[in-house]
Symmetry: D3
Subunit: 162 residues, 6 copies
Amino acid sequence: MLDLRLIKVNKPQDVNLILGQSHFIKTVEDLYEVLVNNVPGIKFGLAFAESSGACKVRSEGNDPELKKMAEGNILEIGAGHTFAVFMRDAYPINVLNAIKNIPEVCSIYCATANSVDVIVAQNQAGGRGILGVIDGAAPVGLETESDIAWRKAFLRKIGYKL
Amino acid sequence: MLDLRLIKVNKPQDVNLILGQSHFIKTVEDLYEVLVNNVPGIKFGLAFAESSGACKVRSEGNDPELKKMAEGNILEIGAGHTFAVFMRDAYPINVLNAIKNIPEVCSIYCATANSVDVIVAQNQAGGRGILGVIDGAAPVGLETESDIAWRKAFLRKIGYKL
Amino acid sequence: MLDLRLIKVNKPQDVNLILGQSHFIKTVEDLYEVLVNNVPGIKFGLAFAESSGACKVRSEGNDPELKKMAEGNILEIGAGHTFAVFMRDAYPINVLNAIKNIPEVCSIYCATANSVDVIVAQNQAGGRGILGVIDGAAPVGLETESDIAWRKAFLRKIGYKL
Amino acid sequence: MLDLRLIKVNKPQDVNLILGQSHFIKTVEDLYEVLVNNVPGIKFGLAFAESSGACKVRSEGNDPELKKMAEGNILEIGAGHTFAVFMRDAYPINVLNAIKNIPEVCSIYCATANSVDVIVAQNQAGGRGILGVIDGAAPVGLETESDIAWRKAFLRKIGYKL
Amino acid sequence: MLDLRLIKVNKPQDVNLILGQSHFIKTVEDLYEVLVNNVPGIKFGLAFAESSGACKVRSEGNDPELKKMAEGNILEIGAGHTFAVFMRDAYPINVLNAIKNIPEVCSIYCATANSVDVIVAQNQAGGRGILGVIDGAAPVGLETESDIAWRKAFLRKIGYKL
Amino acid sequence: MLDLRLIKVNKPQDVNLILGQSHFIKTVEDLYEVLVNNVPGIKFGLAFAESSGACKVRSEGNDPELKKMAEGNILEIGAGHTFAVFMRDAYPINVLNAIKNIPEVCSIYCATANSVDVIVAQNQAGGRGILGVIDGAAPVGLETESDIAWRKAFLRKIGYKL
């Protein structure tokens, strides 16, 4: 009655993904506007799974490859009211708060450049929902003094922290 | 040790549901006030699953039918610290950002008028948690040029986009 | 191919936990600053699971016991890009909105002093992801008139509502 | 060199005004969408003073009288990058947080159904800026016990507080 | 026709002030709840100038001295729809974002422990509005290398930055 | 007793300015981090007027010319707890919401590439405060049908609206 499966997101390593739950087809227009408005020069594609009426994968973007990537992955995942943004020349940290504040957006499953497995549940009618994601590799241990020094130096070298 | 089950939300098709994770019994009062303050004339019922102490389903609302609907569904789902809002004469888009900003609210599982299956995990002690939802039907394909034209026209006809 | 397990969070009853999904190692510095900036005198430890590169559990805090608690639980859960905050002398309600607004944070699984079971999925490569949590005990029934009176009086006695 | 004047806002008593500082002509489209998206049935008109290029008063709305009211007042105030929303069948409390979160909006001078005098500064080139507003009447004294009782009862009678 | 005056805020040096523009008498209840909910142990008084109807200074708080201070200053300033919070055992940084997110709040004039002069405009009917504040002393020069070193060390010593 | 003056902001036409009220010297570090974190490649300088203790103009930035511009203007304005950001290769719309959410920030006076006159009040002790700004030129009339057509086409040509 309840079928669970892993669906691997299909994307190159240099592309960042934001995967979330939303509702209403206006999501694709609001996501588009938020992305363009927040980062000059961002390249992206995005898609949303309409889950009533025509049940189409709705999409927008300014990069054909990334738009096709978003459409393909959302169709493969097949979960109602989910959305995916694939982006280059920008990072999730640049846009994540703006996306969280879109009035249709419920929550964000992950924001990552890692390889991602999506855990999907399916009911007898064929409807699907995302239960969670496996975002990259598992941790191998606690950071040591030298790991901490590296972390602090790295965040300051890239200018993200003072 | 880990038991998974699907629980179908019991609601009419014209009622919208917002389902989320929160904490603390003050959730019911804050949700009530946010809903009344944001949309004049909204009709709603809401319930929250207290998960320590008396472990009661706490509820508020201004419509008896919707309040009873919220209580019944939260009791049936049975997952600690979850809440549900059932509403008429308003849409999730009117209130979702305000709900996301309530200080007790952790996250939102879905916001939808679709039929919803909730995936619930149960441990040996009988405690339960929501893993995700199946929100409506799965997507059947990519939007075509005419689907895009319909989407753009529809969003502008209802005045949500210019 | 998909392995599910329950992992019990290891914490004393008087310690509150906030468990969430984020991305990027800057999470630990941003969480630290948000917690110190929001509540004078808060005691806390926090940890984040880096899931690429060195794959270390990154941590910060101002209380050694709580920091060790955060490190141990995040390592045990082992899910990429997840974080945990353990706190004393403060409540989740004091800091949850500020944490939700951190630009790396995707979502919050729970905020609670209850005992918590985390439902974790594992793939064949050993990567892990959180699907949800069982937060405390299941509800046992609807609140009665006297339960409602107690709730309203309690929230006003502690000064949280007027 | 610096000329100060009072400009009385021209509006009926049953119309609410939100007056603020913003930038960029996109303000009128974003304000329109936020208002329609937040309150079903809201009636409003809004205008914004472009202050470079064509320097036109840009406007939108779904009620001709209120749109004309917004245009006339913004033209009369004449301050660059300011905007005004005039609304019926909704209250500022329904939409103010959503307006504050529009990415072009700098700040809000007032939100009120009172009569409003706007204090405007003018430089030698004819440019103008809003310094502040006189929003209704001055307070006449501290609330008494019976005033407090009335306040608490009123807020609970209209359902805004529990 | 337009009268301008300076009104000095009356407060001890160890008390912090947040002065802002809001609307609607519910402001006093929402401010109270936000302050108590955000900082355990905060001591405060707050007042709001109702500017229609009974035109009373509405107030709340958990410290009689600070409540009286808020009432006295708001009455002295006399500007419709303005509010003031006076606090001890907490800092504006702990609560300012939460106050900015209250749905009645328009904007914040200042948040400071400095001595404050409020610039007030008055019209012929006796109505008043705040134009701005003089918050402490004017700057005397650019920070030197040793000033910068002191700043960075100080922010890290108090734990606000890492 | 109350002296008013106009101070013209000194900046090239291609540089955008965000001028606001804040408190606490941590403002300069938080502004720096928010700007770098939100827009890859942004060039900026920022300054803040400390108004107690050493009363220094505190500054940060990643472009020496813009940093010097911020320092010079904040010193010239001389108003306690005010800040200015001067930026290139980014627009206020990219960062304004993130700046509004910084916990020290009270409000924003303007965000603009226009020429700006700042209206400053000074008390007898030499303390100063910003009352408002004159942001560019006054509006010259209502938009015509062709102005509206130009606006809608322009916003869609640059991709900010769909």
